[in-house]
Symmetry: C2
Subunit: 249 residues, 2 copies
């Protein structure tokens, strides 16, 4: 029931029983995906990482009822805890970063305001990024969505990430760093949280790099070239997965 191809529908407060689906979920199941009575799907609570099999019981003009089976921990969840601190830049680049980070297993995304950030996003932007994270989790088959914080200063974001239970290995991506990311990832103990910080277009200022270092974020580089800020997330999180797998293999 969790195989490829089965429809996954985000839903809060999952409990066994017959329920009226909330309007958005009902519309998604009935109108977008044209499921009929008796068809099966999976509901998941992206906040708790819980999911359950579901059967469409009845379809009304503007409503739909579903029978929810017993909830279980989501089959596919992020493994290691990973925090992605992204300094907010121009346009909709943060949207792309939230999508990439979710697909590649981040468990927390902190939008940070840095010296070269163009604007201070409001709470409506955070709400948008949370919706994008839930939708990306649904699409990639993940049963938990990353937590997306409200925007905060870079220093606050770094301190938050480092204060994680058990401590986190902090890394700050910088094309002029000496240490290759791969070398640092290879030394990352399984189970230990990883936290990454990435600047906006133009990168962090020298003062911000000092703050990163003071808060325990080591400067690392990924390759010899200067990546756009919106490329770094997929490249670094892909690297984290592959280096972890390479060591396990």
């Amino acid at each position: 029931m969790s195989g490829p191809g089965i429809l996954r529908v985000p839903l809060g407060s999952i409990a066994a029983g017959v329920i009226a689906l909330p309007p958005e979920a009902a519309s998604y199941v009935v109108r977008v995906h044209r499921l009929r009575e008796g068809d099966r799907f999976v509901v998941f609570d992206p906040e708790l990482g819980v999911e359950a099999d579901a059967t469409l019981e009845s379809v009304g003009r503007r409503s739909a009822e579903a029978r929810i089976d017993a909830p279980r921990p989501a089959a596919v969840r992020a493994g290691r805890r990973v925090t992605w601190i992204q300094a907010v830049g121009k346009g909709d680049k943060m949207d792309a970063v939230v999508r990439d980070a979710t697909e590649l297993g981040a468990t927390r995304i902190i939008p940070a305001i840095s010296a070269r950030s163009v604007a201070r996003p409001g709470e409506d932007r955070s709400q948008r990024w949370r919706r994008i994270a839930v939708e990306a989790a649904r699409q990639c088959g993940r049963g938990d969505a990353p937590r997306v914080d409200a925007p905060m200063s870079l220093a606050a974001a770094l301190a938050e990430a480092r204060a994680a239970e058990g401590g986190a290995l902090g890394m700050c991506l910088d094309p002029y760093a000496e240490t290759p990311l791969g070398a640092r990832l290879a030394a990352l103990v399984p189970g230990v949280e990883a936290a990454f910080a990435v600047g906006p277009e133009g990168g962090f200022t020298p003062e911000e790099l000092v703050v990163c270092a003071a808060l325990g974020f080591e400067r690392v580089r990924l390759g010899a070239l200067t990546l756009r800020t919106e490329t770094v997330c997929a490249a670094a999180l892909g690297a984290l997965i592959a280096v972890s797998d390479a060591r396990a293999g």
Copy 2:
């Protein structure tokens, strides 16, 4: 003269001497970046991976002359040869893949037509992708741009990539594969060419996966989640860089 911040201008047929800059380069240097007589910049030939220091000598109403110093091999070039085969999907996703592949060191990009490709792009699209590759090379500080082939069938693309001088390790990204990408990359001998094949939205068909295997492309997965086709390139090439660095470190 190749440090961060210096303007890099793509230029064909670089030779020492005073030349009239081609109109596009002249406009870029004088109007976009407002360089003045005596200012220095770097010209690079993205096809040959050659660069040279240059000085703006004179600026006319619609022209500009520059003194070009002796050409040298580009300071920053891709290391290992890497071929990226991308099955063409919807919209402008291929644009993003060309940018990501260039920033992350691919040396050849082959747009492939697969069963689930929506359309067969014409030669004008290839020209566009070549321009994007040169511009991405300029932005990331790379002195060589990847070769971008005209679109071809998936089978032809796989055969082309495998026919590389000295042979290439072929990998086909597939979320349902057993082998983790990281394990395969860890076994990649330094200097050996790597070739990746990625399907469009919806992935390769079962028949295409058989063709991939027959032509020596092993199925590998990157993590437990289903990535969008446009995320795979940055994640896999970031992984290649990091695993190579981890082993060297």
